[in-house]
Amino acid sequence: MTNTVLEIKNLKVSVEGKEILKGVDLTIKSGEIHALMGPNGAGKSTLGQTLVGHPNYKITGGKILINGRDLTNAYPEERAKAGLFLAFQSPIAIPGVKISTFLRTAYNDLYPNEKMSLRDFFNMVKTAMNDLEMNESFISRAINDGFSGGERKRFEVLQMIVLKPKIAILDEIDSGLDVDALKLVSAEIKKLHDQNIGFLVITHYQRILKDIIPEFVHVLKDGKIVMNGNKEVSDKIEEEGYEWIKE
């Protein structure tokens, strides 16, 4: 098992001229589970979008490194190739673009030397779909087109399983999922965790953190990490909200 380190150093990000992240430091290693919590509008999704290289999120300071390699200004596909994956909070629909073609192209781009046969590839996809209790017919549908909220989330997880990242950021993967689906998704995250993948789990709720217990809990407030702790922090947030945490 190779080890991967994602380092976020004093990261400052502006969106449409407004500073949203005001110096964020965070290090995530293979096999670790980090939870990121914080009030609405704190900048959690902004961090995710910035990490995958969305061009509308302008980095005004700081660095993003994977295994010491500077990816601060890299294209999204270079970050994906370095092992980064984001399950989006609100995955976008792309009409007409079939999941089958999309996944296969992505896989071939990430693993150009593997030359997996068509049959093996789709068997792998179908196994993952079965684990997530997704109907196989989804494979011929267009990306997120007409998907329900929960179906979009499952599709994000499906992509994570198929594309095998090294560090995965899950932005509110638990919201919109029914109780049973949440169990399936948690089980998948645990499987990947066993395979030494590192996680940043962005969430508002305790529920998912009961299944996948984070070693580290961080609280983001107004663009800054205001607390680094462990499971006790998320327990207290569940009880008391964010008021007690000082900026």
Partner: protein
């Protein structure tokens, strides 16, 4: 496997094209024509063409009348700029050889080589019930499987049909599109050469498509084929056209006529994908007469050319006649594609559906110019028009000119139009999974055309796929 078989096959074929020279359609041939009328157009040119073809008197007269109409009509000024066409500098008739072969072995080796590079004989073996190949002004090859020949199907170039089936040709020639219709219909009427003649007898259903492939090789030349498709009562047929040309610095002109007669209860599908090089002005006139209970499908892909003006039309003449008109237009750098479908409802219970998808790249310009007319008496007629435009760059442009003339109170008509861009969020989503920008944007473009891609034959889907990928990779950043 069933879900992704077709996509995968398209993908695989597209990849295989990348590695072969076949993907380059713009190659030149070194074939010296055996005869040409030389530059320019006058009465003598027209008489010369008619003489070479040893035509009957009625055709010769029809040509000369059409010439007068052509000379008397002004250039249309309501659409794209046509001032780059220099009628005096064009060569109107070029004969590549003497031979009209029934077997590829009998085709002039150089010409055969061209069509082999374009993949035509291979396609014929796999997918087609019959095939005609035209090189510059003349059909050089024609074949029809025995099975259909024995059922009375006629499939040949129009020149041959004029000689062999004069009465049948005369019954239909220029009925749907008379030379008086417009300047370019008149031009074709005067100098037409080649094109296909397809007649399907009553109740004959041809299961595989028939195809004509047009290759224009000469510089500053014109190709003016005239095609007539007749599906007699209760017959069904799928007719396909493909066309390409090398690229020159000077302009060529392609002004075809396609007349389709879908007789009572027949079913006709016409598919054409043109990929002319961008030195070609492409100004064809295509029209179908659709009789009672008959159905006409148009599927047209306008991928190449410098300027295209094309408005395939269905005249729904009999009760319950219906038509569907699917069109993709792609305007690359420096090109203007003015296109649209027309449906003329002349009888009760007629229905039409027009779907247009246009894509503009760089400073390419697409315009949708369509017409739906519902005459008084076309009771309960229904029509739906949808036109979607995709603009890839900031300079890309699209205009929409829908003309709706509804004179029947019980008719139903609806129109939807959208204009979109490739969004940063979509691109980022796809790229965050490992796709390059080219790959992501090609996929979005192909996704935009998906409705129509489903309806077109595999070979054309592959060509479409290849072309979109090529154009997107030539382009640099989207935006």
């Amino acid at each position: 496997m069933e879900y992704y078989d077709k996509d995968e096959e398209i993908e695989r074929l597209t990849e295989s094209l990348k590695n072969s020279k076949k993907s380059d359609f713009e190659f030149y041939d070194t074939i010296e024509p055996i005869y040409s009328t030389g530059k320019g157009l006058n009465r003598k040119t027209v008489e010369e063409i008619s003489d070479i073809k040893k035509e009957p008197g009625w055709m010769r007269e029809s040509r000369l009348k059409a010439l007068d109409i052509f000379l008397s009509k002004p250039m249309p000024t309501w659409g794209p700029d046509l001032s780059g066409i220099n009628f005096d500098n064009l060569t109107y008739y070029t004969r590549p050889g003497e031979n009209k072969a029934k077997s590829w072995d009998d085709v002039d080796p150089k010409i055969k080589d061209t069509f082999t590079k374009l993949g035509i004989p291979a396609m014929e073996q796999k997918y087609l019930a019959g095939s005609v190949a035209q090189y510059d002004s003349e059909g050089v090859y024609g074949s029809l499987r025995k099975e259909w020949e024995s059922k009375g199907v006629i499939f040949t170039d129009l020149d041959t049909a004029v000689q062999k089936y004069p009465d049948l040709v005369k019954e239909y020639y220029c009925k749907a599109i008379p030379p008086s219709d417009n300047k370019f219909a008149a031009l074709n009427g005067a100098v037409w050469s080649g094109g296909s003649f397809l007649y399907v007898p009553k109740n004959v259903h041809i299961d595989l498509p028939l195809q004509t492939y047009f290759r224009m090789n000469g510089e500053q030349s014109g190709q003016f084929e005239h095609t007539i498709v007749i599906a007699d009562e209760g017959a069904s047929v799928h007719y396909i056209e493909g066309c390409t040309a090398p690229r020159y610095n000077t302009s060529s002109l392609h002004t075809a006529i396609v007349e389709i007669y879908a007789r009572k209860n027949s079913n006709v599908k016409y598919t054409s994908v043109q990929n002319w090089s961008d030195s070609v002005y492409n100004l064809p006139v295509k029209r179908a007469w659709v009789d009672e209970g008959a159905h006409m499908d148009w599927v047209t892909g306008e991928l190449g050319s410098k300027v295209t003006m094309i408005y395939p039309s269905s005249y729904l003449r009999g009760k319950g006649a219906s038509t569907s008109n699917l069109q993709i237009t792609l305007a690359t750098k420096g090109t203007f594609k003015d296109a649209g479908g027309k449906a003329i409802h002349l009888a009760p219970d007629t229905t039409s559906r027009i779907v247009s998808k246009s894509i503009s790249l760089d400073d390419g310009l697409t315009a949708y110019r369509g017409l739906v007319r519902m005459n008084e008496g076309a009771s309960r007629a229904k029509s739906h028009v949808q036109c979607d435009a995709l603009l890839i760059n900031n300079d890309s442009k699209n205009y929409t000119y829908p003309f709706d003339e509804i004179y029947e109170p019980t008719a139903e008509f609806s129109h939807e139009a959208t204009v979109g861009k490739i969004g940063t969020d979509e691109l980022t989503y796809m790229r965050s999974r490992g796709l390059s920008e080219d790959e992501a944007s090609s996929m979005i473009v192909l996704g935009f055309m998906d409705d129509i891609m489903k309806e077109i034959p595999m070979e054309f889907a592959v060509e479409m796929n290849r072309l979109v990928k090529l154009e997107m990779s030539k382009m640099g950043a989207v935006g």
